[in-house]
Symmetry: C2
């Protein structure tokens, strides 16, 4: 990327692989990466998979993904999350209906629900006579959400490393109370997001989506957004190029993203999340 | 793990590696993992590093980590995060003072601040004449926090795959307004967590911390916590064994975790997070 260091001594094939991965992610030629290996290859190759083969995911694979998830950092070792693995087609159908009718939830053999779990901490508090009132603050909910996300992302990298694909389903937050009822969730638990998991259908391959140029998201020492206007304009063009290749409707990121956050009506019902979380037992003080 | 599937046909060395990693993570003998590779090895080997060599992290390595971070999924491609890379010792010292005086922030050559960034989305909205009022809801803040965490965790796996170590610093949320001033953060941005990064000091090796047994966090079809009491008691014992080995004070997880969430006073000032976020431009409606 920057030119100040000697080009790393990598074989031509590895160099070609890293060049190709960085180009796919940014759609611009970058200086060579500082290092390369199979893990970086897996991470840089990420694409969301929305078309799956019917083959089930063995339960020991689910256990391996959860071992990866539990290996992520967790604040003060609180481990404030759980995961529910859903395979029953009827339950998947009901959850899909609650999450905006996404067909991939029906199609994927496995649907993981990642749960912010303050119930377990409340229970252990009761056993030792501590009221766990610190959980009633927004900070504790946020900590739970962060730790759940760190865990889930480890599972994604793990599953992609063994040839599976996945897609996060934020739509599960459209109807949190109904999802809680479907999964039998106790108070102080919340399905933060879903995740479809399965073997990607090679007949409908997913592609690496280009992201914003690094200079719009990476700053040194202090935040600075001066350089962003032209870089974002360049990104609008690169995303249109990607959309053309995918036979998608061409649309600037600028337009797409700003419409997505336009107002309450663009949040698919999630504008009431705060009061629903209250009902689920999160005070968010 | 479960006994229903044939043991995978892996070489003895690989089998020993996966057995060892799973045992370190759970402190119980588990059935063999469904698969094994270098990426799983990296993920399962995670430990938080708090003692670093002084060697700087080359900036092209930072760029590689950010490429990994940007490769994570992001809801509706909103990319609502930024990262500030701090190396200046004086700035690191000021940030350390704001984050509970953790010495590792001074010692690590690199301190990454992971920022929930709704400023960029607000700016692009202004350019196309859209008010971005959807950002004023708790849902949008939560979405930003989740996407920031997914990105950061990709960076962690990437950096560990090339021999670096890191530690998340939630303490950066102790004083969010002061951190924002130090980093020159504009309205609608928030330093969600910090991350020390550097080369681990082999003279002070970190160890893999055991986690809760899987049956306490992984459920099939519906949530169920019936099996948890005895499993958590077993975990208390395993964590004490780990603490003995590390010459740490022995303390049950049950006790440690419940004291950590006891009340406002155990949150290190973060009980006021909600009003501070308001001041930083997040309405959290």
């Amino acid at each position: 990327m920057v030119q100040t260091m000697k080009r790393p001594d990598l074989g031509a094939a590895i160099r070609a692989s890293q060049d190709e991965h960085l180009f796919a992610r940014y759609r611009e030629r970058l200086d060579p990466a500082a290092a390369w290996n199979a893990t970086l290859d897996t991470i840089l190759s990420h694409r969301s998979v929305r078309t799956y083969l019917p083959d089930p995911v063995p339960f020991e694979t689910v256990q391996l993904l959860v071992a990866a998830a539990q290996s992520a950092a967790t604040s003060s070792n609180l481990q404030p999350w759980s995961v529910v693995a859903v395979e029953d087609p009827a339950r998947k159908a009901r959850l899909a209906a609650l999450a905006g009718n996404q067909a991939q939830i029906l199609q994927a053999p496995l649907f993981l629900l990642w749960i912010v779990d303050h119930h377990r901490l409340t229970q252990i508090g009761e056993r030792v006579g501590v009221a766990a009132e610190g959980l009633h603050f927004l900070e504790s909910f946020l900590l739970g959400a962060v730790d759940t996300a760190l865990a889930a992302q480890n599972a994604v990298v793990a599953l992609e490393s063994i040839g599976l694909g996945s897609c996060y389903i934020g739509g599960i937050r459209n109807k949190p109370a109904e999802v809680a009822a479907e999964l039998g969730l106790p108070p102080q638990t919340f399905a933060l997001f879903g995740m479809t998991v399965g073997y990607p259908d090679a007949a409908a391959p997913a592609s690496v989506k280009p992201r914003l140029p690094q200079q719009t998201v990476l700053f040194r020492e202090r935040y600075g957004s001066e350089a962003s206007v032209s870089a974002i304009a360049a990104y609008d063009g690169r995303l249109r190029e990607f959309q053309r290749e995918q036979s998608m409707v061409e649309r600037d990121w600028t337009d797409q993203a700003s419409q997505r956050v336009r107002g309450a009506a663009s949040l698919a019902g999630r504008d009431v999340l705060r009061s629903v979380l209250h009902d689920l037992g999160f005070q968010l003080a």
